[in-house]
């Protein structure tokens, strides 16, 4: 039975995995930052019902949310050079990381745009009317009244999305990125065993997810988010 799980290997895996942790975190951070920017833009386009752009946004969000990340990764990896190549630009030399980043940014932007959109739409119309009746401009009303309330509505779903993003990065290795999961292939080519390394990776992800969740709980408490059940699922 000892052939199934070598505890020694399990413990040894940790330092090797943690040495690549920064890559994983880097992907999460970049995807979150740019995904938030792009997602906000898309949400604004949809909230203001900008003609044409708004329909494109709806299709974009629906498509990106409707396909597995695995498929998106490859579509970006293979498709982007082809599309850009049509304009005469050669990006085949680009580092794989860039394609990985772009794919996760696209994915995150779609999910975040929905969260932002429904959070802003979820702030009662009466709040906006009151702000206008007092004489505020659209921008003042948004910045002082609507946005703070929208953030409160969005927090739980936002936290969930970020934790999911962390777990989703586990697929980046399929494009050859040597991150927390990618390094396991490198380890196991020497030892012909990977179960222990995968188990170690599982532990690391669990710890990271828990830290993130605790962090968000703390933020939600600080912001005074009341315990409403929001319908935005995984």
């Amino acid at each position: 039975m000892e052939n199934i799980f070598l505890f020694g290997l399990f413990v040894d895996s940790f330092p090797k995995l943690l040495s690549r942790l920064h890559i994983t975190l880097y992907i999460v951070a970049v995807a979150l930052l740019f995904g938030m920017l792009l997602g906000t833009y898309i949400a604004v386009v949809r909230l203001h019902k900008v003609p044409i752009l708004s329909q494109l946004a709806i299709a974009y969000v629906s498509f990106v949310r409707g396909i597995p990340i695995l498929v998106l990764l490859y579509i970006v990896y293979i498709g982007l050079p082809l599309v850009v190549g049509w304009f005469g630009v050669n990006i085949n030399r680009w580092d794989t990381m860039i394609f990985v980043m772009i794919a996760y940014i696209i994915n995150t932007s779609a999910f975040l745009s929905e969260i932002i959109r429904s959070a802003v739409a979820g702030v009662e119309l009466g709040q906006t009317e009151a702000a206008y009746s007092v004489g505020m401009t659209r921008w003042q009303a948004f910045y002082r009244i609507i946005a703070p309330q929208a953030i409160q509505i969005a927090m739980p779903a936002l936290g969930n999305t970020i934790v999911s993003l962390l777990k989703d990065t586990s697929l980046a290795y399929t494009l050859g990125v040597i991150d927390l999961v990618g390094v396991i292939k490198a380890i196991s080519s020497n030892t012909y065993r990977s179960l222990e390394a995968y188990a170690a990776a599982a532990i690391i992800f669990f710890v990271l997810s828990s830290l993130l969740e605790q962090g968000f709980k703390w933020i939600e408490n600080k912001l005074g988010v009341t315990k409403k059940i929001t319908i935005i699922g995984r």
Binding site: E124, G126, Q127, E129, A130, A131, Y132, S133, V134, G135, M136, T137, Q140, R144, I145, P148, Q149, Q152
Partner: protein, 250 residues
């Protein structure tokens, strides 16, 4: 001084305001009565452009606009000269009572914070909420919230305060406290246009009562005239329905 000429508004095919003319003098308290669907709320909300009228002219104080060709700047100007008290209070949920009253002063009138706070405290005292400065709307009763709403409107020192059924959402025992604040406001000489079902307010405090039905002004006059000696049949029908025991003679 408020003046409205030929106000028209349709929602799709349904014409809700069929040409309303109205003149309100400074310090006047005007009550709008009418059955549901009559257009009285739409009319009120058109005055601060929460509804966009299709046609007509509106003058509020020194600002004169043509509803058909109105710019964003003009709408903003009108809104800075008016204030509204809502049926559902619409207090800013993320601000305390004091902050709610101060908000318009700081953000819109660019008043220094200290001055705004002083004025706001005085007004909150005036509406009877001395110990509620730091309460959030969720911590206040309906009547208290509405009084904060009135305070918020008062603080802006507008040409006119628009009241959209201010007591309709309140429990009966809380209506009184809000009405008495409104009476106080009226006595101070503020111009008020009030949509309400509270006939006692119309009877005791209003300078003029206007009966609106089917998108037009059917009849207007002093409370005594309209409530006790209505001339039009539609007015009589309406009053008969809402005041079965009200004593009026033709």
């Amino acid at each position: 001084m408020i003046e409205v000429k030929g106000l028209h508004k349709s929602f799709g095919k349904h014409e809700v305001l069929k040409g309303i003319d109205l003149k309100v003098e400074k310090g006047e308290v005007v009550v709008l009565l009418g059955p549901s669907g009559s257009g009285k709320t739409t009319f009120l909300r058109s005055l601060n452009f929460l509804e966009q009228p299709d046609a007509g002219e509106i003058t509020i104080g020194d600002t004169h606009v043509n509803c058909k060709h109105i710019s964003k700047k003009e709408i903003l100007e009108i809104r800075r000269n008016t204030a509204m008290v809502f049926q559902l209070y619409n207090l800013f949920k993320n601000k305390t009572a004091l902050e709610n009253v101060m908000e318009g002063l700081i953000v819109v009138q660019n008043m220094p914070k200290a001055e705004a706070e002083k004025i706001s405290r005085e007004i909150l005292d005036k509406v009877g909420l001395v110990d509620k400065y730091d309460a959030y709307p969720s911590q206040l009763s309906g009547g208290q919230q509405q009084r904060v709403g009135i305070a918020r409107a008062l603080a802006l020192n507008p040409e006119v305060i628009l009241f959209d059924e201010p007591t309709s959402a309140l429990d009966p025992e809380l209506v009184g406290e809000v009405l008495s604040v409104m009476k106080k406001v009226a006595k101070e000489g503020l111009t008020m246009i009030v949509v309400t079902h509270e006939i006692s307010f119309a009877r005791d405090i209003a300078n003029r009562v206007i009966f609106i039905d089917g998108g037009v002004i059917v009849e207007q006059g002093t409370p005594k005239e309209v409530l006790y000696h209505p001339k039009e049949e539609r007015t009589k029908q309406f009053l008969k329905r809402i005041l079965p025991d009200f004593d009026y003679s033709i």
